[in-house]
Symmetry: C2
Subunit: 126 residues, 2 copies
């Protein structure tokens, strides 16, 4: 039994997962913003991600601090609106994360494609 | 601005993510065991997942307590070996999780397929 660490273990995801993006609520926000390149108002983002005001605010602050998104205040219909947009950095980090998800899915399908892909439709989300 | 929560927000992943499986090291362990249905020795699992003894032990305990895996002690070549196998419950939970990952990937590709799929190969993981 050798204790030496071999290079690139096959199923080592822990090192590759971007913890900032991995948090489910933040993954919701980023995926939502990636598909709305012109940005979204706070209220619409909140609705689309199913988050509360407080939760959304907290995660937006974390994402803005890491420069994954930018937040601006616009006047729309005489009301001050908070608008969120994804940045180039955010788009890249999200894309890298999605690539890792694809790797996990490929790894899961390996060596037993029938078993994993056959009766897979277990989720019945409306 | 209505505060009533509408049904099934489009990008609401937080509710669907299985926190037990979502933890990167546990996702490594489960994906590894899913592709090795006969089970794996502790030492092999450790090597394939790139985890330390302590980390692997801790996560295996959590997964066993939730009945996602089972741990047995076998005698192999005159030595006591710890062997881990995924259970039917573990297989189902992992599969449901993979389904959610597929949903995130589909959602990410929505509305800007070229942008997300074109220059996507940003990861260069050996």
């Amino acid at each position: 039994m050798t204790r030496r660490k071999r290079a690139a273990p096959r199923f080592d995801y822990a090192a590759g997962f971007d913890r900032l993006v991995h948090e489910p609520a933040r993954l919701s926000i980023l995926t939502c913003l990636v598909t709305h390149p012109k940005g979204l108002r706070f209220v619409d983002l909140k609705r689309l991600c199913g988050l509360t005001d407080g939760n959304l605010s907290r995660h937006l602050q974390a994402l803005e601090a890491a420069t994954l998104i930018e937040i601006s205040k616009d006047i729309e219909r005489k009301r001050l609106q908070t608008r969120c947009r994804i940045t180039a950095v955010g788009r890249r980090r999200h894309l890298e994360y999605i690539e890792l998800l694809e790797r996990v899915i490929r790894d899961s399908a390996d060596s037993q494609p029938l078993d994993i892909r056959g009766p897979a439709r277990l989720l019945s989300r409306g």
